[in-house]
Each structure stands twice: as C-alpha cells, then as structure tokens.
C-alpha cells in the first residue's frame, strides 16, 4: 500500500549560475570503476514509467533514472543545469524562452527531435496530466527550427525552468509513445542514463545502461558507470536491513530510524542521513472546533514534546522545526521555537474555555512512525487537558477526508521538489491558493498580504525578510504542529561510491559506481 498521499509543490527555481555547475566533485577521475550491477532495495513500488501519468515516489524515483528533461537539477539538487537543452535564451519581457536542443538520442537510437520535445511538453500540460497546473502559464510550445523549441508564456513565470526539470516534463519519444501509450508505461523510450530492460510489476525493475546517453563521466567516457541496476521492491523494512547485511542488496533506501543507529556501527556499510525538503507535521483543520481557537492550537504545540519524539521516533535523526514548512531556501533560523511547556499548554486550554470537544487525531493505516507519534501526542495532549481519540483510516480514505475538510488533526508530512520557498509558502499558508491553505483552512489576511508582497519583489533580501515574517506568524498562529525536519536515510555497502541523495529526496544513479 502506498504511504500517504504525497504532495510536491513547485517553486520558482534559482537559475542563473546553476546552468554551468559541474559534476566534478563526485569521484576522483582516476578511481572510477565502470560496469557491474547495483542491487537496490526500496520500500516503494514503481507503478508506471509514463511520466504524464501522475505518480508516487515509487514511480518518480524510477523515472528519474530513465528519462531526461530540458533542464535538470544539478548535483546538489539546489540548482539547475542544462539537460537536453544545451542552452536557452529568455526574452526581455520574460515571456518567450528559446531552447537549443543537444544532439542526443533516445534509448532506441532515434535522435531527440524538436517534434518529440513539443509533443512531450504539450502532453505534460494536457487535459489529463496531473501536473498540468505547472504548465498552465504556458501559451504555446512550438518548434522554432530543427534544433530550437520556443515556449511562450501567458504571463511572466519565473519557475518555468524549474518546472521543466520535473519528471513530469520528461521528453519521450513521440513515435513510441503514440504507438502504444499503455505499453510506454511499462517500457518507456526516453533519453536518460538507463533504459528499462525488464519490468516485473510488484517486484523489480531491471535497468541497463543506455549507451546513447549524452552526458560524460569524470573519466571522459559516457555516463553512466553502471551496466545494470536491479531496483527491488521490498516493503518490509526488517527485510531490507537483513538483505543489506546478508549482501543480497547493495543499497537500501528508507532505512527505519531505529535500525539506522545499528547500521551506523557496521563497518561494511555506509549510512547516509541527508537533509531533504521534508517536514513531518500534524495537519490541523482550523475550520473544526476546538481547533478554530488559536489557544488550543498553540496548546497542542506547547504540549508536544518534540525532543522526546525526535529521540524515540526518529532516533535523533532530524531537527526540531521552527517553521510550518520544510526548510527550503528562504528558511529563517531565527524564528523562535515553541518550547515544550505543559503548564503553558494547560493555561492555554483553560484560557480557550475548552468545552471538552474531542479531537480526533487521524493517521493512515500502515504508518508505523505516525502511529508512534500519535500515541505520544495523545498522551501529551490529554495531559494538557484535551480529549483526544486516535482514529486510523486507510490511506485513500484518510486523504479523501483531508481534502474534503472532514478531519480535525492528521499526522502526515509534506515535501518540496524544488528549492524555492515561494510555492510551498503560498500553498500552505494562503487560503486562496486552491488547496484551502493545504487543507487547513488557515486564514490570516496579514500573511496573505505578506506573501503577495514577497512574490512581487525581485530583491532576495527583501523576500527573505518577508518569508521569515510569514514563517514567524504562521508558525506562532499554530498553523500546524510541526514535528521534525526529517532527513532521508539510506545505507549502502562501502564498495558503492557516488551515491547521492538530492535535496528533493531522490537519488542519482548515473554517477554511482560499484567496486566489489
């Protein structure tokens, strides 16, 4: 079963210098070992390779290895660099972008043409694509000539280059895609570093090196280094850890926190805890009593012993948040944290005139850490004088209830794909943004005003100041109960090098090499 519904926000990308960032820091040129197979076990299952069918982590992380887009995240994930587009020019009014295509080939040997790009981007913005909203500001995608594509916008839209780096903007081979759209989801034809050789649904994907890939490695030869990837779907975390130790797997993704501490002691294994754009928090529905009262929401925050949660649930992995949103570029460290203060919580509950209305703390079935968090919070909040029930719902149902506002509090999380504060800040805090302040119905005119100002500003210092203010206000309004800035924890054998988790959560395998 999938974990809870996943939200990826889009942000205006940092561009500028990003285009020229190199990958040189990956490995020393001389040492890199080519060939070999990487066996990777992960808890999510790829469902489709069709980039226009909206997807879950299981699919996205896999698509990232296979498909390529005009721009791509750089090695750090913090910036952008050219992908299939060798370069681009932006008109003065910022309404017209002209991309020059690289001389690249699809995995089946066909050249990547202007036609393919136009087709792909039009499909990505089509009527049935989930991420179409990101392409909504686009007026037209047209071929300028054999090697140039022109995108014209309805209005200025700075996040465009960032959007074009999304998996949803992947460039597919038009002929294959049109010939068999359903089949494409099983056996895609893209221009990424790997191609799908065998896709055993529900169990594994075998990817092999795409010999036609355009990028060059540190040794001056074409990437990728690996010949083959076996990406296995292993939902049970104990089994993943056991498999890593027994040598069945080279890499395991999403190591459970308690076992991560154990793996740290294993000399054959490298444990990587990489901060990513993720915040675990309790959604609060401001439209439902008693959460409509700020005092109550703050009481929930004061009564939450985040230190204890960090220690017992996350085993020390992560960082206690001082924000209502993940730690993206304009994050302010100076916003004061709400401390653990049960007495203060009691006072607030009393001050709110709490009438005993119970709070249903919802979680999705199968969310083990969520269950633990809910158990801890229930006791803490009850200590503060609130009535709390834990209610579990199957994830589809829970999400349905959340989007309809039929919940009170929901243990969940949010991540951002792109390194820009704006989009998440708006989506989470502006009740008019289309998701009702991300299903909280949080409505503070001052915040909405500040966000509007920040969007109009071109001065990054000013924006930083405005976002910090929003962060401060929303956080102290008791927007939610933030719990932890959670890192991505992965582990691999020491003979694996070049492994890197980028800040949006996924990993690049084109730079990975194995030296068993």
């Amino acid at each position: 079963m999938s974990r809870q519904p996943y939200f990826r926000a889009l942000g205006a990308a940092l561009l500028a210098a990003a285009a020229t960032l190199a990958v040189g820091d990956v490995a020393a040129a001389a040492d890199v070992k080519r060939g070999g197979t990487l066996v990777l076990a992960r808890p999510e299952e790829p469902l489709t390779f069709n980039p226009f069918v909206p997807a879950d982590n299981g699919s996205i992380y896999a698509i990232e290895q296979v498909c390529d887009s005009l721009t791509e995240a750089d090695a750090t994930g913090l910036g952008l660099r050219p992908g299939l587009a060798e370069s681009w020019e932006i008109s003065a009014d910022t309404l017209t972008y002209v991309f020059k295509l690289r001389d690249a080939q699809f995995s089946n040997g066909q050249p990547v043409t202007v036609d393919d790009v136009v087709f792909s981007l039009r499909t990505a913005g089509g009527p049935t694509a989930a991420y179409a909203f990101g392409f909504e500001p686009i007026l037209a995608v047209e071929a300028a000539d054999d090697s140039h594509v022109t995108i014209t916008l309805k209005r200025p839209y700075t996040p465009l280059l960032s959007v074009l780096s999304l998996f949803a903007a992947a460039i597919v081979e038009k002929a294959s895609f049109e010939a068999d759209t359903d089949g494409f989801g099983q056996k895609p034809v893209c221009s990424g570093p790997f191609r799908v050789e065998e896709y055993a649904r529900g169990s594994s994907v075998v990817m092999v090196r795409n010999d036609n890939y355009w990028d060059i490695g540190v040794d001056g030869q074409p990437l990728p280094y690996l010949d083959r990837i076996e990406m296995l779907y292993v939902p049970e975390s104990n089994s993943r850890v056991l498999g890593l130790r027994s040598g069945d797997y080279d890499v395991i993704a999403s190591v459970p926190f308690n076992q991560a501490r154990q793996l740290e002691g294993d000399s054959e294994v490298t444990l990587e805890a990489q901060p990513i754009f993720r915040l675990d928090y309790v959604y609060l529905n401001h439209g439902k009593a008693p959460l409509d009262k700020k005092e109550i929401r703050l009481a929930l925050n004061y009564a939450a012993d985040r230190e204890a949660i960090l220690k017992t649930v996350y085993f020390g992995f992560g960082e206690i948040p001082n924000s209502y949103m993940p730690k993206v570029n304009y994050h302010s460290d100076t916003v004061e944290q709400i401390p653990y203060d049960i007495e203060k919580a009691k006072e607030l509950v009393a001050a709110a005139g709490y009438d005993g209305t119970p709070i249903d703390l919802m979680l999705s079935t199968g969310d083990a850490p969520g269950k633990q968090i809910a158990t801890i919070l229930q006791q803490a909040w009850q200590a503060a004088g609130l009535n709390v029930n834990i209610v579990e719902f199957e994830s589809g149902t829970a999400w349905d209830m959340t989007t309809k506002g039929e919940y009170q509090a929901y243990v969940s999380y949010i991540t951002s794909d792109i390194n820009d504060t704006d989009e998440l800040a708006v989506i989470q805090a502006d009740v008019n943004s289309g998701t009702n302040a991300f299903f909280t119905w949080y409505n503070n005119p001052e915040v909405i005003d500040l966000l509007a100002k920040a969007r109009q500003s071109a001065d990054s210092n000013e924006r930083a100041g405005l976002y910090a203010k929003v962060q401060d206000i929303a956080y102290h309004d008791g927007y939610s109960v933030p719990l932890n800035f959670v890192p991505s924890v992965n582990a691999y054998h020491n003979y694996v090098s070049g492994w890197r988790t980028v800040a949006n959560g996924w990993w690049w395998l084109k730079d990975v090499s194995v030296d068993k």
Binding site: M1, S237, N238, V241, P256, N258, Q259, R261, Q262, D305, A308, I309, K311, T312, V313, S364, T365, G366, D367, A368, K371, Q372, A374, T375, I376, Q378, Q379, I390, V391, E392, F393, E394, G396, T397
Partner: protein, 281 residues
C-alpha cells in the same frame, strides 16, 4: 450441578483438558487482576525510559514509547480474550443455527444457504476487511463485523454435516413422531448433539482469530493504538525486533501460551465428548 456431579465430571476429564483448563483459568484470572499485578499503567508513556531490556523493574522490558510491556501484556488478556471470544462464538452461534437448519430442512433453504456459504467462502477476506475498515476505520468493531460476515461458514458446514447424520437418527425421528414442531426437534433435540465438533473447532478458531488480528495489525488494519492488544503489540514491535526483541516477542509468547492452553482444551474436549477429531481443523 452438585459438588459431587462436578467432581465426577472432573474425574472424567483427560489430562490435556485439565492442564489446558488450568492454564486458561490462570490466564483469565490474571487478566481480571491485571491492574493490581504491576505498578504501571498500560498507557502511560515514559519517553525517557524507552526500549529498556527486561530487568527487575520491567520484567518484560519497555516498549518504544517507554510503556511497561508486562503491564500491557497482562491488560491485553482482557482485550484479546474478548476479541477471541466474540469473533469465535458469535459467528459460531448463528453458523450453527444456519448450518443445522440447512442440514435438517434440506430443499431450497439448504440450496440457498449453500450458495451463500460458497460466496462467503470464495469472497476474498482481505477485500472485505479492507473495505469495511475503509468505511468505518480500523478497530475492534470493524474486525468483528468483517469476521461475522465470513467466519460462520466453517461452523455452518460442520453443523450441516453433523445434522445430516443426526436427522436420520432414531431419536430425531422419535421426536418427530412425538409431534414436536420442527424448531423443537432441531434446537432442543438435535442441536445439542450437533455442536460437539464446532466446540472443538472453536478452540483452534479462537487462536486463529487472535492471530488474524495480529496479521491485520501488520498491515495496519488492526486495532488502533494505544490499545494493548497482543497482535497489535507484536506488529508494532516488529520494527524493533533486532534491537528490542522483547516488545514483539513477549506478547507473541502470550499468544502462544493462550493458544496452547486452548488447543489442549480442544484436545481434551474432543476426548471427553467422545470425538476423535482434534482441535485443529
């Protein structure tokens, strides 16, 4: 029943029944007195003292939020016996009724019941339980409803098969010639002689049902926290099985012990009721 009658009855019990019943009684009594047996509360967390290995202070250790595992196991007796009891004996009651009637009456009623039974048997339990959980949310009641819909089939089958034999027996025919109405013939006369195999099977079913809750908890479909239900405890503790084996293992042991005592009772009952069939089916 007089004391002598009880003594005589006990004297006829086979050893397995005595041992099983003693254990089971012990478990029940322990469950009744659970709140006074340990100084801890099953729900109170001690986040500072989490994942403590077994010690004198915490003979079964503490769990991932610092609760005393022994206390939770002891309190779990009440919950699990209740779950086992309800999920076993409620479906058994109407399963027996339907099966016995079906076997006795035959004809269209039997045909209808058998087709209904086929549907219940062939319908994937997982779909049903997930669907009900999706509608009602997980919890003890949800499990009850799902189990009620399907678990009667085994009893209905057993009762029907036995009734097909019983209805031809002379004492049933005799009851009919005495002019007793069908309901009396079936329920007063035949029924008590039909239920033996079901009672024996129910002992294994009891264990199976507790295990079912545990498996459902594994899938996140069991009882909601923080209820100290054994299956849920076993499932919750599985993430810690390598560094804190006691969280999962000791509640599991409770299931095994309860299962063993019930299985012995079933065994002994089979003997006592003159039935060779064992408690497993």
């Amino acid at each position: 029943m007089t004391a002598i009658a009880i003594r005589d009855e006990l004297a006829r019990w086979p050893a397995s029944l005595k041992i099983g019943a003693t254990f089971f009684l012990l478990i029940v009594v322990t469950g009744l007195f659970a709140p006074w047996l340990t100084p801890y509360d099953p729900y109170t967390q001690d986040l500072a003292g989490f994942l403590q290995p077994p010690s004198w202070r915490h003979p079964f250790g503490t769990d991932h939020v610092g609760r005393d595992v022994l206390t939770r196991v002891l309190h779990g007796i009440r919950i699990d016996l209740q779950i086992g009891f309800i999920t076993t004996y409620v479906p058994m009651t109407y399963g027996l009724l339907l099966g016995a009637l079906s076997g006795y009456l035959g004809g269209w009623f039997d045909t209808l019941m058998m087709r209904l039974l086929d549907v219940a048997v062939a319908f994937p339990f997982l779909v049903l339980i997930i669907v009900i959980i999706a509608i009602l949310g997980p919890g003890v009641h949800t499990i009850y409803i799902a189990v009620f819909l399907l678990a009667w089939t085994m009893y209905a089958r057993l009762a029907r098969a036995e009734m097909l034999v019983e209805r031809g027996k002379d004492y049933v025919l005799a009851a009919r010639t005495l002019g007793y109405p069908t309901s009396r013939v079936v329920f007063r006369h035949a029924m008590p002689n039909v239920i033996n195999s079901s009672i024996v099977f129910s002992m294994a079913d009891f264990v199976l049902n507790i295990l079912l809750v545990s498996s459902l908890s594994f899938l996140g479909l069991g009882v909601p926290p923080p209820l100290p239900e054994w299956g849920a405890m076993v499932a919750e503790g599985r993430d810690f099985i390598f560094d804190a084996w006691w969280i999962s293992t000791l509640p599991g042991l409770a299931i095994v012990v309860t299962g063993a005592s019930l299985s012995l009772i079933g065994d002994g009952l089979a003997h006592r009721l003159g039935q060779r069939q064992r408690s497993f089916l």
